[in-house]
């Protein structure tokens, strides 16, 4: 009896009550109706084109579906074909991992190092240098310039230069030779990779508490390297984690550059990636079930790597 009578007074107290079930959900929805309404246009579109497709893709990966016939359930068959019977997927996977292992860390470190050096400059020069390093990533398809640099005839810049200086006598077919394609795509990818995370690092460096640096100097920090390790990096952890997500996702998603530079498909699949393999089955062969299994694998690869790296970065300065 007594406990029951106290219930009304508990209501509305600071203690967050966990009323179970539908009643709670309905009351929450009612209470915050305007908040849900504000979010709804964005969330409806976001769920329709991002969340549902991921779930849909996972489900479809267990079916055979060609957009014409009714989907047929095939169990794990798509996955066993992907890992056991698809030699080209293995090439694509090898290339993707190679891209990720090289462009991921290199572009991440480059973003940080250049932001760090730029931060030492006077404000006006800092703005100009930020623009120079960031511009390639937003200038659309200007990377076609690289096609001229690596053009296979003697009008290509690299061939022209090497022939003039006498290193080679005949022009090299840079973009048709398996030995060079991957390296060239990596160079162009790196050129384009100083994007959002670079800006986040520039911004993060500017907001580091100056008194922290001064206190560090009093405490015996002697040079910029010690300052970097003991003060700068730990204070920038949130930006470093954000930047890592951006760079990792981009480094696994190499496709457009590979297609533009090396063609689709590239010579002997030398620049074929998981994403171009996905495009091949999803938009050309219309094997939607198989394409979905590739997409689901890519999803797990990206999310898995990101979460792993987040865990590692959380340890910086601890």
């Amino acid at each position: 009896m007594q406990t029951e009578s106290t219930v009304p007074s508990v209501k509305g107290s600071i203690r967050p009550k966990k009323k179970a079930g539908l009643a709670y959900v309905v009351s929450e929805l009612k209470r915050n109706k305007s908040l849900y309404l504000l979010m709804s246009p964005y969330m409806i579109i976001f769920f329709l084109f991002t969340v549902i497709p991921v779930v849909f893709s996972l489900a479809l990966s267990f079916f055979y579906f060609n957009m014409l016939e009714f989907p047929r359930f095939v169990g794990w068959q798509n996955y066993s074909r992907l890992f056991l019977n698809d030699d080209i997927f293995m090439i694509a996977l090898k290339n993707t991992l190679l891209f990720a292992v090289i462009t991921g860390p290199v572009s991440y470190i480059a973003c940080f190092v250049f932001a760090w050096i730029i931060n030492e400059l006077a404000p006006k020069i800092r703005a100009v240098m930020t623009l120079i390093f960031y511009a390639p990533s937003i200038s659309g398809n200007v990377f076609f310039i690289w096609l001229i640099v690596f053009s296979g005839d003697s009008y290509g810049y690299l061939n022209g230069f090497l022939m003039k200086t006498g290193f080679i006598l005949e022009p090299i077919q840079w973009l048709l030779d398996e030995k060079y394609i991957l390296g060239i795509v990596i160079v162009v990818q790196l050129w384009l990779s100083l994007g959002t995370s670079f800006l986040a690092f520039i911004a993060g460096l500017q907001t580091i508490d100056k008194s922290l640096v001064e206190a560090g100097a009093v405490d015996g920090i002697r040079n910029r390297w010690q300052e970097l390790w003991f003060i700068t990096l730990p204070s920038m952890r949130p930006q470093l984690m954000f930047g890592a997500v951006m760079q990792i996702t981009a480094s696994f998603a190499v496709a457009e550059i590979s297609i533009a530079m090396a063609g689709f498909p590239s010579v002997n699949y030398a620049a074929h990636t998981v994403v171009t393999h996905l495009m091949d089955y999803g938009t050309i062969r219309f094997e939607m079930g198989y394409a979905s299994s590739i997409a689901t694998f890519l999803f797990c690869l990206m999310i898995g790597t990101n979460i792993l790296v987040q865990k590692m970065l959380r340890k910086i300065g601890e």
């Binding site: 964005y42 659309g140 800006l199 990206m302």
Partner: protein, 289 residues
């Protein structure tokens, strides 16, 4: 003397000049690597045809000319879809997509930044997770969803998904967290509704974040070629037109350079104009545990 002043590191402790010099040298080298292709692209647009094919090739133009731009206008005037149509399509997609994204993302960011309610944490976690995979993952099902909605070959297929670009919501939410709660509380006491608080208190306070969302969204839409969704010639974009022109081969190199310049100048100009706001927003971009 003035030059030296620029490279001096004011109010910085523990800096050796030699190391500074070496680091700036490194920065200058890579800066050149980043800038040369862009400078070359700009110069190409003003090169007469004989300079475009000079051997060995030169970066800078000797006798600048506007011929490439006149040729472009002439070429596009003759084709059955005039150039203005491609420009209009690109502008339509870019403007609606960018403005709509800023509006929708900020409306969704405000509740997430300032309130705790049923589902708020889960929704934000999903948004952060969606930053961790690229749109390629969802391309195949998206095509099917588009075809069920009957949006294939309409501009909606490009514009609508772009409205819910998740990086925009993430950055907007992080930036909005800085708005003092007292400001919102005061408005509430005055009897303002949530919609009113969003529109007249929160939105004017996050102008730097608008510009940031713009600078991230604009180049992507400005550079879209319609992908696999648009196949009618009169709905295609400027980027697609560029592809067609450059496929015309050697004779079209000059015109191609002119279109490339147009495509590249607009986003870069926008960034120059909004740089300080963008940096201010990115300062709050960090991921907390």
């Amino acid at each position: 003397m003035k030059m030296m002043g620029a490279f001096r590191t004011p109010k910085k402790l523990n800096r050796s000049f030699t190391v500074s010099f070496l680091l700036f040298l490194l920065l200058a080298c890579f800066g050149a690597f980043m800038a040369v292709p862009l400078i070359y692209a700009i110069n190409n647009a003003f090169k007469p045809l004989d300079e475009l094919f000079i051997f060995p090739p030169r970066i800078f133009v000797n006798n600048p000319t506007m011929d490439n731009f006149y040729d472009l206008i002439a070429l596009m005037g003759n084709s059955w879809v005039p150039l203005t149509r491609y420009i209009a399509n690109t502008l339509l997609i870019t403007l609606i997509g960018t403005a709509g994204h800023i509006l929708l993302a900020s409306a969704a960011a405000y509740p997430l930044a300032k309130y705790r309610f049923l589902g708020s944490k889960a929704l934000f976690t999903i948004v952060v997770l969606s930053l961790m995979f690229s749109p390629h993952v969802t391309a195949t099902p998206n095509y099917m969803i588009m075809s069920w909605l009957g949006w294939i070959n309409t501009h909606a297929s490009i514009i609508v998904p772009s409205l819910a670009f998740s990086l925009g919501l993430f950055l907007m939410k992080q930036f909005m967290e800085q708005i003092p709660d007292a400001l919102i509380e005061a408005a509430k006491i005055d009897g303002a509704s949530e919609y009113r608080i969003y529109w007249s208190i929160v939105m004017p306070n996050v102008k730097p974040a608008w510009l940031t969302l713009m600078i991230l969204q604009f180049p992507a839409l400005w550079g879209t070629d319609g992908g696999s969704f648009i196949y009618s010639e009169n709905l295609k974009t400027l980027h697609y037109a560029l592809g067609q022109i450059t496929q015309g081969g050697i004779a079209r190199a000059g015109v191609g350079a002119a279109v490339a310049l147009i495509l590249m100048v607009v986003p870069i100009t926008l960034f120059i104009l909004s740089q300080s706001s963008v940096i201010q927003t990115m300062a709050t971009s960090g991921m907390k545990d």
